[in-house]
Amino acid sequence: MRGRPNLVAEYRSDAAIFRSNVQRFWFVLLLVVVFYLALQGRPDSPLPQLGPLHLGRDWMILAVTAVFASIGAIGLNIVTGYAGQVSLGHAFFLGLGAFTAAVLGGVEEVRMVPDLATGEMVEKTLLVGYGLDMIVWLPAAGLLAALCGLIVAPIATRVRGLYLAFVTLGLVFLGTHVFKTAKGYTGGTNGRPTAEVRLWSFRFDQDGEVFGFFMTKEQKLFFLGLVLLLVLGLAAKNLARSKVGRAMAAVRDRDIAAEIMGIPLTRYKTLAFVISSFYAGIAGALLWSVITRVQPGEFNLLLSVEFIAMILIGGVATVSGSVMGACFIVFLPKVVEWLAGVPLFDLVISTGVGEGVFDIFQFERILFGLLIVLFLIFEPLGLYGIWIRIRNYWKAYPFSY
């Protein structure tokens, strides 16, 4: 069906991961380009450079953040996009993942303190840490978050709409308090060092040779993230096009109608929460392992909103949209930094003291707020929707219809 991608003749092709060979081709090409860019993403890369597309270290760090954030965004999209259950509690599950990983994969911190009774010096554990391998802490982070999702689900499935938003919001505040209070595990307000990203003896967090090719730690982490993203993204895509996904979509569109059609509401809402929390746990564990320090205060409402923004800007109920949105939000500060040097914009954004109206951080926040608002008003489908419109425009070019 060349040139008519919306024509679907069979259920099989309707549910296919790639609707056409063209899509398949572009996907592979995109992967190849990303792969190549990442490979030459270090200062002394032996590979030829693609013009201005040379990625420096700072860009690679953002790219690593973006792939990991994509996993979290896909998770949120499962519960909010596919199943329609608005969750402001994503930050809590990210935090659970991050701290689980830190406890299981982090180093124990002990200090010699005088025993008050005997006066002798005794070992006191300040921070619990087991120093385990990533093969243990990564799934554990996901599973613990999923378990908490399961525990919260009974409350969450009882309420709907705005009330649900509040319940999940309450979760964030409770979570922050718990993280701050459990000092032995989380290090209290100041946080703790996180897990080492190490798979068996292979260190992702150190520069080194891989198959005879020298790679920086950012490159290694990026490829780790890319593989995980592909696996988890594919899993989400498969979930969405299976029976479970269709049931979730029915719940989203009209939960009472879905129930009448014989879809067990509680089961699918719970399932959506659990799966979403699992993704969040994984993403949280990886995101904070990369920046090597995790603090309870980071898991606040704003983080949840950032993830909501990712899926809103990217595209609700699409896997590719989640990835686009995550990349967009993660790279936004960099774009603002670049904007600060552009004429006209440099009048508004200040890079030093006393010039411009807002500093870079403030401008980024404002832009962030504005973007959410503008996307909601003008393009509810997000970047994904813009992409569809551009595609449709060029498909009929030079005619407008």
Partner: protein
């Protein structure tokens, strides 16, 4: 015993502040079925105007509050016109997220105008106290209760006896029918945002009931009023008042007694008490204590 009565009184003053913010939420919700997450931002910007006029420009405190109220009204109107009006008819959740965006912008604006430091609002209450029957009552706390009571009564009278109040009640009852009867629903939206902004600005004066100061971090206080609204039921003014009293007293009692009796919950546990109460209430009554149960048709 004195400690307990004092805790009750302090809790009641806290409840008064919660009630002010919660009323703002409820009024907006009743008129346009929108949940405003912009209240923290409104609180901050409103409070900082008081700081600006009373401290920096050295105007009499009450006059400064009056000017700040005017500014808050304008802010509320502008926000409603620019950001909320285009969203009429959009999904509830989209509008809610939108108000988060507004909140971000407002907070940054406040931060930009007033910096990151603790500011005194310059109110006349200071740290003055009166002792009644062996119980120490802070003047600011008394003021909070009085101000909240006066405002609540004024609002109820406003809804009951004025033309626009009647229009607001009609809109809350049924927007479309109100529209067909010639009620200017747009004006109702505008007025409700203005009222909410003013209530938030007034509440800002009492956010720190002991010191009367204000800092950007205090914006989170308005978010603690969210559970109050939910516990009372999103669309019930009476419910919000009852819930404010419940939450205020529960929070105060926790903060007084938790170090003594259950220390393991950690410092600052009182601040998450509103959310805990909310969880419990929602488990039992999914629409809050006095909220209207949604009637669903397939």
């Amino acid at each position: 015993m004195n400690e307990f009565v004092k805790a009750l009184f302090d809790g009641l003053s806290l409840a008064a502040v919660y009630a002010l913010i919660a009323l703002g939420f409820v009024i907006i919700y009743k008129s346009m079925q929108v949940l405003s997450f912009a209240q923290p931002g409104l609180l901050l910007i409103g409070g900082f105007w008081v700081v600006e006029f009373s401290m920096r420009r050295d105007i009499n405190f009450f006059l400064a509050v009056a000017i700040a109220v005017v500014f808050a009204t304008v802010t509320g109107l502008v926000i409603e016109r620019l950001a909320l009006r285009p969203m009429v008819g959009k999904p509830v959740f989209a509008v809610a997220i939108m108000t988060i965006g507004i909140d971000v912008v407002l907070r940054i604006w406040a931060l930009d105008l007033f910096g990151d430091t603790l500011q005194s609002t310059g109110d006349p209450w200071g740290i003055g106290t009166s002792t009644v029957g062996g119980i120490v009552l802070g003047h600011r706390r008394i003021a909070a209760i009085v101000v909240a009571a006066v405002l609540v009564v004024a609002l109820l009278v406003f809804f009951r006896y004025t033309r626009i109040g009647l229009a607001m009640r009609a809109t809350a009852f049924d927007q479309e029918v109100a529209l067909t009867q010639g009620v200017s629903v747009a004006r109702v939206f505008a007025v409700s945002w203005a009222i909410a902004a003013v209530l938030a600005a007034i509440a800002a004066l009492f956010v720190n009931l002991n010191t009367g100061s204000l800092s950007p971090n205090d914006a989170a206080f308005a978010l603690r009023a969210l559970p109050v609204v939910v516990i009372g039921g999103l669309d019930s003014i009476g419910g919000a008042l009852v819930a404010a009293v419940i939450v205020g007293i529960a929070e105060q009692l926790t903060s007084v007694y938790s170090p003594q009796y259950f220390d393991w919950v950690g410092a600052g546990f009182a601040q998450v008490v509103p959310y805990l109460v909310m969880f419990i209430v929602l488990l039992v009554r999914p629409y809050g204590l006095f909220g209207t149960k949604e009637v669903e048709r397939v």
